[in-house]
Symmetry: C2
Subunit: 386 residues, 2 copies
């Protein structure tokens, strides 16, 4: 196992009727910015619970945060914080809202001219407002990690940043929210979490027996509940396992001591930036082709995954590894998710070249665990995904 330093200070409040307990976590003198997205929380009962919670605090509302951010809108939230001297944020939503909250928390304390300059894996956040979250859409794990991905629609960019200061203080995970989600959101969550595990698991390594089993635990669970939860999203037990799997898939635990990849995400983000395709679906489009393209150094792990998660016992290593990709793609299809770019946009011609060129311009000359997936490789992977 590789050396690692790991700390996750977020307090998880998991279960029914947990929103009210946030009053134990948010300081009584907090001046709160309540950030949320559209109106869904007003129909599923969450907004009322939040209003009960916030009745004891000074707060301002800021709504309309969308799945792929309008960056200018986030800057308005920062202005509101400064104008009203707010000092705490409560994010109520899915990964986009929580990520927006992280950006706002850091931007509110940012000293430079243009907060977009923070959006780099190299930028070190020096100060940020404290915040908590209420998850309404299990998928990204942002509720228990310190990273955020921010879109800037006007320039078709999607970038990420990360800081120890960006862990939520507390996050409420109430599985009853799943019952009111559209199927599209649920399957996106499953595929998103599945791919979060892949990026931290499908790498060459030795001496990581426990970390492998932990990663496979999440895959087993998502596989086990996938089809059933679509049929019965109000099944609380299934929803609990779905929600907890999404959080555990990207709260840092399974990444400790192991090499990680994140190449699928790097390419997928571009498809979202260019075509507004749901994040999870970009991973389903790119993932299978990424593993086919990098088959030689991924096949050992692909075969282990096929054996343990899909119970592929017959055949040699090559066969098992190929089956791993087939079974995964079949799983996506069984959830109603297409793995072809052309099913999402008719304007796909030239995408491969455009993204390869973007990576070259940014100096991203090697993606993946070995930094050996070149812009040319990226082009080929995307071409095969048409």
């Amino acid at each position: 196992m590789k050396n690692f330093i790991y700390k996750n200070p977020t307090k998880i409040l998991f279960g029914k009727a947990m929103i009210a307990k946030l009053s134990n976590e948010i300081p009584s003198d907090a001046r709160i910015l309540l950030v949320y997205g559209g109106g869904s929380i007003k129909t599923n009962g969450i907004y009322n619970q939040v209003m009960d919670l916030l009745s004891a605090y000074y707060f301002e509302e800021f709504s309309g945060v969308k799945a792929n951010h309008e960056y200018e809108l986030l800057l308005k939230a920062v202005e509101l914080i400064k104008e009203k001297q707010l000092n705490y944020i409560l994010a109520v939503g899915g990964g986009s809202v929580i990520d927006a909250c992280k950006f706002i928390a850091a931007a509110a304390k940012y000293k430079g001219d243009n907060p977009w300059d923070m959006m780099s894996i190299r930028y070190v956040v020096k100060e940020a407002l404290a915040f908590s979250t209420i998850v309404t859409l299990p998928a990204t794990g942002s509720e228990m990690n310190s990273g955020a991905v921010i879109s800037y629609r006007a320039i078709k960019e999607k970038r990420s940043f990360k800081s120890e200061l960006l862990f939520p203080q507390a996050s409420v995970l109430d599985p009853t929210v799943v019952s009111s989600l559209p199927v599209r959101q649920i399957v996106n969550g499953i595929v998103d979490a599945f791919n979060h595990v892949f990026e931290q698991y499908m790498t060459e390594r030795e001496g990581t027996i426990l970390q492998d089993y932990f990663a496979e635990s999440i895959l087993h669970t998502l596989k086990a509940i996938g089809k059933d939860i679509i049929k019965d999203p109000s099944n609380y037990d299934l929803a609990s396992d779905f929600m907890w799997s999404c959080t555990m898939a990207l709260n840092g635990l399974i990444a400790q001591g192991v090499p990680t990849d994140w190449g699928i995400h790097a390419i997928g983000h571009e498809l979202t930036a260019l075509f507004q395709i749901d994040h999870a679906r970009t991973l389903a489009i790119i993932g299978p082709r990424y593993y086919e393209h990098n088959f030689e150094f991924k096949k050992q792990k692909l075969a282990q995954y096929a054996e343990r998660v899909w119970n592929v016992q017959e055949g040699d290593l090559e066969y098992k590894a190929k089956q791993a990709i087939v079974m995964t793609e079949n799983f996506y299809h069984s959830l109603g998710i297409s793995t072809k770019l052309s099913d999402y946009t008719s304007e796909y011609e030239g995408t491969a070249e455009l993204i390869a060129e973007r990576f070259t311009k940014r100096g991203w000359l090697g993606l993946g665990e070995k930094q050996n997936v070149s812009p040319d490789d990226v082009k080929e992977i995307i071409l095969k995904s048409y």
Copy 2:
């Protein structure tokens, strides 16, 4: 899944040469009590690394903390803290030393007359000194949890307490320490961690798919490395998986949202208090008989464990569940650990009655996940373990 609230603020520094990095975690003005056990850290190189670390701090040494504490000795550490106005503790050792550190941290701030009065699951710690740990003996998980078990040899008692204030700030896990451990300590660690998982896993429950897989991940790993690491304790990869498994087995994660048992520990602690038998070995003595005695409501989960961890595929549920106990006991035997009380003491006669009576006197009328394991059941379980 049951509702839960979970937070684990301990920072883990895992790997080679991590002791020096504690200087980033311990405040520069800390006045430190260095607590350790015997002289083993002076021969395995750890003491020198600790001295390098502490050269930048004011510190006092306190050594001689033993596996089953001399309570009076711990009070001397508290006196030393007060006398020298120390405000931080660094524990270097296994679970006994780390648990002693937790007791000292709380006792140093305790306002009452007799700190032993804190030793109750109902006592609420109001204040404690901050502390960090360096693990020299993987087993108890105390380096990443907030509980402690303290022995009081003079009155043959062993009690536990717990508080959010008793999480270590940081813990160093350097797997190279395993290479210099006696086999007896390594096998104790494996069996201890195995039983920590059992107490949080072998319970009746539904809707805990992921939590079950996580628990089984640790059992899989301990099973996979058990015999090999005894033969080759200097194998760094095996040592890493061993060490990380011990921490993950009792850092709270696998207990979230599920019923837990802890009956085996409750009985085992008495055997240690009475006969000074190594903690892990008391669990090996009691565990198999505990599951036989509670077979009816444990058999479903025992069978799942047999299938998934020991790959028992043939036979009906009863058969698989019985095999679970047989396979587990065989595993202990393969590590050289006897599961009979009479192999540890010739004075075992009357033990069953004595412990049952102790439980009755303390008002412990029902152990286990259903609180239905009565003192009479305890007596029978112990009688069968002779």
